[in-house]
C-alpha cells in the first residue's frame, strides 16, 4: 500500500456529472469529472479509475471512500455515504476556512448553506423540485438560443436592452424564448433576462438561510464558472462572491476530507 494510509477518495454522483477526488497528505492528488449517464456504478468506476491512473495509484492505496450526491447509495465500494450538504460545507471550509455562506448551483438543484467557522452546517435550503434556478435551466435556454452553454454568461454581458422573462419554469421559459426570438429580440438581451431570472431564485434561496449580514458567498457547482451569474449575485446581494479554482469538484473534495474521519 502506498500513501501511508492517508489517501482517501470522495465521489460525488450528481444528476448531470459524477466527480471523483483523490486526496493525500499534501492536498488533491488527482480528480476526474464525467457525465453520470444512466449507469451510476459504471460512471463511478470510471471517474475513480481515471483519478487513480492520473495519480499512479491503485484501489488498494485508498484508505477510505465517502460517496455523496443523489446517486450516493448506488456506489458499492464506498465506506460511508454522507449528504452533499455536509460534504459541500467540508470542501468549502477546507478551501476557505473563514467562509460561512455557500451557494452551490448544480445540474438539477441549487442550495444555499450557512455554516459556522468550523465548517459545520447551521442551516441549508434547496430549490424546490423544479429545474428553475439550476444549471439545467441555463442548459435548456442555451440550446433554445443556439448558444454554447459555456458562452451564455458572456453573451448576457453584452446585453444593451433590459427585458424580462416572466416564466421561471424551464418548460414555459423555453417557449417564451422562442417567441422572443421570433420578435427579433437580441439574443444577448434574452440571455441577460434568463440570468436575472435564475439570479432572483438564488437570491431568495440565500435569504432563506438568514446569512450573517457581511458574509461573503463561496459559489460552487458547475454554474459557478458562469461569470454573469457571479456578477449578478454580487450585484443582487451586495456580497462578494468567491469562486474556487475547480468549483465543480468541491463536494467530492469535501467527501474525501470526511473520508479521513470515517477511516
Amino acid at each position: 500500500m502506498r500513501g501511508d494510509g492517508m489517501i482517501t477518495a470522495g465521489i460525488d454522483v450528481g444528476s448531470t456529472t459524477t466527480k471523483a477526488v483523490l486526496l493525500g497528505k499534501d492536498g488533491i492528488y488527482s480528480y476526474s469529472v464525467q457525465a453520470t449517464g444512466i449507469d451510476i456504478p459504471e460512471a463511478t468506476e470510471q471517474v475513480l479509475g481515471e483519478s487513480l491512473a492520473q495519480a499512479n495509484l491503485s484501489f488498494e492505496d485508498i484508505a477510505g471512500i465517502v460517496s455523496t450526491g443523489y446517486g450516493r447509495i448506488s456506489i458499492p465500494f464506498s465506506s460511508q455515504t454522507i449528504t452533499e450538504i455536509t460534504c459541500n460545507a467540508a470542501g468549502v471550509h477546507h478551501l476557505f476556512p473563514n467562509a460561512t455562506l455557500v451557494v452551490d448551483i448544480g445540474g438539477q438543484d441549487s442550495k444555499a448553506i450557512k455554516m459556522d467557522k468550523k465548517g459545520r452546517v447551521r442551516q441549508f435550503a434547496m430549490n424546490d423540485k423544479c429545474a428553475a434556478g439550476t444549471g439545467k435551466f441555463l442548459e435548456v435556454a442555451a440550446q433554445t438560443l443556439r448558444v454554447d452553454v459555456e458562452e451564455l454568461g458572456k453573451t448576457s454581458l453584452e446585453s444593451k436592452n433590459k427585458i424580462t422573462i416572466s416564466n421561471t419554469c424551464t418548460v414555459f421559459a423555453q417557449s417564451e424564448i422562442v417567441s422572443l426570438i421570433a420578435r427579433k429580440t437580441e439574443k444577448e438581451d434574452i440571455a441577460a433576462a434568463l440570468h436575472e431570472s435564475i439570479g432572483s431564485r438564488i437570491y431568495g434561496l440565500i435569504n432563506s438561510v438568514y446569512p450573517e449580514p457581511k458574509a461573503e458567498i463561496v459559489l460552487t457547482g458547475g454554474v459557478a464558472r458562469n461569470i454573469a451569474i457571479v456578477k449578478l449575485l454580487e450585484r443582487m446581494t451586495g456580497r462578494m462572491v468567491m469562486v474556487p479554482e475547480n468549483p465543480q469538484i468541491v463536494t467530492a473534495l469535501g467527501a474525501a476530507i470526511l473520508a479521513r474521519k470515517v477511516n
Binding site: 452533499e84 450538504i85 455536509t86 447551521r122
Partner: protein, 413 residues
C-alpha cells in the same frame, strides 16, 4: 440517552380499540344512508360540532376522510377527477380529494369508502380561507345548505373576548337555523351533556400528548397520530374519554415497564405541519434508520378542544372555535413552538412544507428560524403533500433528513 435497558415493543394495545371506534363510526354513518334516522353533517375540523351533536346529527369530516384516502393511496385518483372537471392542480389537495370523491359518487363512479351523503354543511374559516370556498362547492354539488362561521386571525393585540363573542353570536344563529332545519327545539341539557363528554375526552387527549414529554417517549408521533381521530370525530361520546383513559394508562405502564416503540433513539424531533399521509411509512423508516424519533407536533393542537365547559357549553365551543391554533399569528406560533421544544426536550425540527396547503406552510421559514436562533436546534424544511403522492420526492426528502442527522451529529461533537 440510556435506551439500552429499555425494551422495544412497537405496537400499542390501544390501536385495536382505536380501530373499533373508527369502524363503528363509519359503519354507523353508512347505515344512515339507508335509514336516514339521523341527519348527516359534513363539518370542517375546528368547528363547534358540539351544537350539531346536541341536535343528534351524525357529523363527518371531509378533512379526516382526505387523510385516510392519502394514507390508503387512493387520494390521487380523487384529485384527478377534480382536474378532469377543470379544477387546477395547485388547489389544496384535501379539497381536491373531497370534491373529486363527491363528483365521483354523484356520477356513479367507484369511490373508495365514501362518506355518508350529507344533508348539511358547517365550515369555519379558522384553518384557512380556502376551506369556505371548498365547502361552498360541496354545497353546490350536493344542493344542500351550508353555514360558514367567521373567525378573524388572532393578530397580536386583538381582544380575544371580542372574537369569542363574535363566534358566540354566530353559534346562536346556527342554533336558530338548525331548529328551523330539523324542526326540533334545541335541547340545552343535551348540549351540556355533550360538552361534558367532550371536556372529559379533551382533558384526556391533552394528557395523552403530555406523556410524550417523557424521555424516552413511550410511543412516537407515528404511534399517537391516529388517536387524534376520536377527539375530533367522537369527543361527544363517553367511550372516547374511556379510550383515552385506557390509552394513558397503557402509556404510563409502558413508562413503568421501560417499554419504548423505537430502538436506538439518538435524537428527539419536532414535526411542523400536517403529516404527509402518503409518505408515513417512508418517513418513519427513514427517521428510525437515522436514530431520530419524532416526538411531537403542533399539529396535535388542531385536535385539542381544551375549552369545553359543561356549565357554559356555548362559551366553551365558541372559545374552542375562536382561539384555534391555526388562527394564531405566526409570532404566537413561533413562541409556542419554542416552548414545545423546551417542554418536550427536543433536539431538532422537521418543517413539512406542503404544496397543497399554503396557509399551513406560509410561516414555516419564520418559525424554524426563530426557534433555531433561540435554542440553536437544527431544522430542515422538507417538501411534499398531504395526500397527492405525485408531489412527494422521496430521495430529496431523505437527503434532507440525513443532512439534519449529520448536523445534529456535528453539533454534539
Amino acid at each position: 440517552m440510556g435506551e439500552i435497558e429499555w425494551k422495544v415493543s412497537p405496537r400499542l394495545d390501544s390501536q385495536k380499540r382505536l380501530g373499533k371506534l373508527i369502524n363503528q363510526h363509519y359503519n354507523g354513518a353508512r347505515e344512515l344512508e339507508e335509514t336516514r334516522a339521523q341527519p348527516v353533517a359534513w363539518v370542517s375540523t375546528m368547528s363547534p360540532s358540539e351544537i350539531l351533536w346536541a341536535m343528534d346529527f351524525c357529523v363527518q369530516y371531509p378533512e379526516a376522510y382526505a387523510a385516510t384516502c392519502g394514507a390508503r393511496h387512493v387520494a390521487h385518483a380523487h384529485c384527478e377527477i377534480t382536474e378532469m372537471h377543470g379544477y387546477e392542480r395547485h388547489l389544496c389537495t384535501y379539497c381536491r380529494n373531497s370534491l373529486g370523491s363527491t363528483l365521483g359518487v354523484l356520477e356513479g363512479q367507484d369511490i373508495f369508502e365514501p362518506l355518508a351523503r350529507p344533508d348539511f354543511l358547517l365550515v369555519t374559516n379558522n384553518t384557512c380561507i380556502l376551506i369556505t370556498k371548498w365547502f361552498e362547492h360541496l354545497s353546490y354539488y350536493w344542493k344542500i345548505p351550508m353555514v360558514s362561521i367567521d373567525c378573524p386571525v388572532l393578530l397580536s393585540g386583538v381582544d380575544e373576548r371580542e372574537i369569542i363573542d363574535h363566534v358566540k353570536d354566530q353559534c346562536l344563529d346556527l342554533i336558530k337555523l338548525l331548529e328551523g332545519f330539523t324542526g326540533k327545539k334545541f335541547d340545552y341539557d343535551r348540549f351540556k351533556e355533550v360538552a361534558g363528554n367532550a371536556k372529559r375526552s379533551g382533558d384526556n387527549y391533552r394528557e395523552m400528548i403530555n406523556t410524550s414529554k417523557n424521555v424516552p417517549v413511550p410511543a412516537t408521533f407515528f404511534d399517537i397520530m391516529g388517536h387524534n381521530f376520536p377527539n375530533l370525530v367522537l369527543r361527544h361520546k363517553p367511550e372516547t374519554a374511556e379510550h383515552y383513559e385506557l390509552m394513558n394508562a397503557e402509556l404510563k405502564q409502558r413508562i413503568a415497564d421501560r417499554i419504548v416503540s423505537m430502538p436506538d433513539i439518538k435524537y428527539r424531533l419536532y414535526w411542523d405541519g400536517i403529516p404527509y399521509w402518503v409518505a408515513i411509512r417512508e418517513l418513519s423508516e427513514k427517521l428510525q434508520s437515522l436514530g431520530m424519533c419524532l416526538v411531537i407536533s403542533s399539529y396535535f393542537e388542531l385536535f385539542a378542544f381544551d375549552r369545553n365547559d359543561p356549565f357554559d357549553p356555548l362559551e366553551g365551543v365558541a372559545a374552542n372555535t375562536a382561539l384555534s391554533y391555526f388562527s394564531r399569528s405566526v409570532d404566537y406560533k413561533a413562541k409556542f413552538t419554542e416552548q414545545m421544544f423546551k417542554d418536550f426536550k427536543l433536539d431538532a425540527g422537521i418543517f413539512a412544507y406542503t404544496i397543497g396547503c399554503k396557509s399551513g406552510s406560509i410561516g414555516m421559514h419564520y418559525i424554524s428560524d426563530y426557534v433555531n436562533k433561540k435554542l440553536g436546534a437544527p431544522m430542515t424544511i422538507i417538501e411534499g403533500d398531504l395526500v397527492d403522492e405525485t408531489f412527494y420526492n422521496v430521495e430529496r426528502n431523505n437527503m434532507k433528513l440525513q443532512a439534519l442527522a449529520e448536523m445534529l451529529e456535528a453539533k454534539n461533537k
